[in-house]
């Protein structure tokens, strides 16, 4: 499939939580941004069924620092069945009482994060005759440069908004941190091709502050 030229987007924010799937109740973030979170950021700026984003590399610009926050959360979801009954009857008492469903959960979040996402998109078979790589390339550059977005992108959770800045090819890349680390197995992305979304993992290695995703082996 046809693909775009690679783009570079600088993203930063006060906090971030790229939740490890094995620690979801009391959220603990991965040390760095996952490819799937990076994809989510790009999709918040531009996405159409005609394109699919691929993350090529993630540069870590700030040292990894942590912050812990405990919050009162609810552990319930809207019961679709009850809603349906009330909907059909036209009356009833919906609503969720926080005191009955309270859960206190701590979260271990990252703080003062900044990354450069290197990514490209490829066209999918859903592309129409009027869709072309150039069209979406121009659209993305225009949106990312002027700060436009479909929705505010976020770092893992919606309370951690992302500031983004398009880095054109002429601009020099901001320096990544000088640190190499084996980050272990990390979430690559969710595979939505089957009936249920399936997580895929990869062995992440940060080399001089940079996470190369081009030739990683992805396992589900």
């Amino acid at each position: 499939m046809e693909k775009s030229s690679p783009f570079r987007l600088k993203v930063s924010g006060t906090n971030a939580c790229f939740t490890r799937p094995e620690m979801k109740v009391e959220r603990v973030s991965y040390d760095v941004m996952t490819p799937s979170a990076a994809r989510g950021i790009l999709e918040a700026i531009l996405w159409k069924p005609a394109i699919v984003w691929r993350i090529l590399r993630i540069d870590v610009l700030n040292p990894v620092r942590w912050e812990s926050v405990r919050r009162n959360e609810v552990g319930a979801v809207v019961p679709a069945g009850t809603v349906k009954t009330v909907m059909n009857r036209g009356r009833g008492n919906l609503g969720l009482y926080v005191e009955n469903e309270r859960q206190q959960r701590a979260g271990l979040f990252l703080r003062d994060v900044a990354y450069v996402i290197h990514a490209e998109f490829a066209m999918t078979d859903q592309a129409g005759p009027e869709d072309s790589v150039t069209k979406f390339e121009q659209m993305f550059i225009r949106r990312a440069t002027s700060g436009q977005c479909f929705q505010r992108p976020y770092f893992g959770c919606r309370e951690f908004p992302v500031d983004f800045e398009f880095l054109s090819r002429e601009l020099e890349l901001p320096a990544a941190i000088e640190e190499s680390r084996d980050l272990g197995w990390m979430l690559y992305d969710m595979d939505y091709s089957g009936k249920e979304p399936m997580p895929q993992f990869f062995h992440a290695r940060m080399e001089n502050g940079s996470l190369d995703l081009r030739n990683v082996e992805v396992r589900s």
């Binding site: 006060t14 906090n15 620092r65 912050e67 812990s68 926050v69 405990r70 919050r71 009162n72 959360e73 609810v74 979801v77 809207v78 019961p79 679709a80 809603v83 349906k84 009330v86 909907m87 059909n88 036209g90 009356r91 009833g92 008492n93 919906l94 609503g95 969720l96 009482y97 926080v98 005191e99 206190q104 701590a106 703080r111 949106r143 002027s146 700060g147 436009q148 977005c149 479909f150 929705q151 505010r152 976020y154 919606r158 309370e159 951690f160 908004p161 500031d163 983004f164 800045e165």
Partner: protein, 286 residues
């Protein structure tokens, strides 16, 4: 109901607390939340959303279409049954599988009746993915401009709870307050997501009002005096926005003007708002 909003918005809310605890930390025995690295105070996003919900619930008496889904019992111990107006959904594409269509109906109906589902979104437990709605309104954590100090006060009660403590005559308690803190919080409203939940111009009006007035209806022994001091809204001409959000937030500067003395009132701060770039309207609501 009016049409969904057609502009992107960002907002900066400045609120302060005097001799109160704006947001307790369950990890630290209900001390005010503090960022241990910088000493600045912290107020979570969910804390503020709760207050918006309470305000809207209060103003509209918990009636659809402004009912509040996530309720606090303390505020509403009324056990009346609500009657919901059934509404006709426009027929969706027939190609969709049956249960997805169902899920859409349910989320659509919830959005229509509940203000907080429309504004903040909700997770509905249907089998299909469509059961989740993202709301257009998004809050970040609020942080204080300067370091806040926590005062610890021991207080006495001239009564005891248990019979066996009768001879003690009184019990001691503890209260934590911030003498003064000015907090700044950033928020975002996405027009494309508003379209998905039907968050309308009328809802937006109500939301701005709730930000300005929510502290006035949240008085308690713990909170002290809290007040919204400034609400600066940036309205983009277009749905997707006309300027980067962080550039707009940078236009709002808050500086201490009392030198080395600890700030003790809003007057100890100077707030300046720069001119908005082309395509963005700056609205100072408060």
């Amino acid at each position: 109901m009016s049409d969904p909003i057609k502009n992107r918005y960002e907002f900066v809310l400045l609120f302060d607390v005097k001799d109160g605890n704006p947001n307790g930390d369950p990890d630290a025995g209900n001390l005010p939340r503090i960022d241990p690295e910088t000493g600045n105070g912290l107020v979570t996003d969910v804390c503020l959303k709760r207050k918006v919900r309470n305000y809207v619930g209060l103003v509209h008496g918990e009636q659809p279409p402004y009912e509040i889904y996530v309720k606090e019992k303390a505020v509403l111990n009324r056990q009346h049954e609500r009657a919901y107006q059934a509404f006709e959904l426009k027929p969706e594409s027939k190609k969709l599988p049956k249960n997805e269509e169902d899920a859409r109906k349910i989320t659509g109906w919830m959005c229509k009746n509940f203000f907080d589902v429309r504004a903040f979104g909700a997770v509905m437990s249907t089998e299909v993915n469509a059961g989740q709605v993202r709301g257009p309104v998004q809050f970040a954590f609020g942080r204080s401009i300067d370091r806040v100090f926590t005062g610890e006060h021991s207080i006495t009660r001239m009564a005891v709870t248990n019979e066996k403590d009768l001879e003690k005559e009184r019990t001691m308690g503890r209260k934590f307050t911030v003498p003064y803190g000015l907090y700044r919080v950033h928020g975002f409203i996405s027009a494309p997501l508003a379209k998905q939940t039907g968050f309308s111009e009328g809802d937006l009006e109500l939301f701005w009002k709730s930000l300005q007035n929510m502290f006035d209806h949240d008085r308690s022994a713990a909170r002290g005096e809290m007040a919204a001091q400034k609400l600066i809204v940036f309205k983009h001409e277009s749905e997707l926005g006309n300027a980067p959000a962080h550039k707009l937030f940078d236009l709002v500067t808050v500086e201490k003007n009392c030198g080395d003395a600890p700030p003790r009132s809003f007057g100890d701060y100077d707030v300046a708002v720069g001119a908005a770039p082309a395509g963005v309207e700056r609205i100072e609501m408060l």
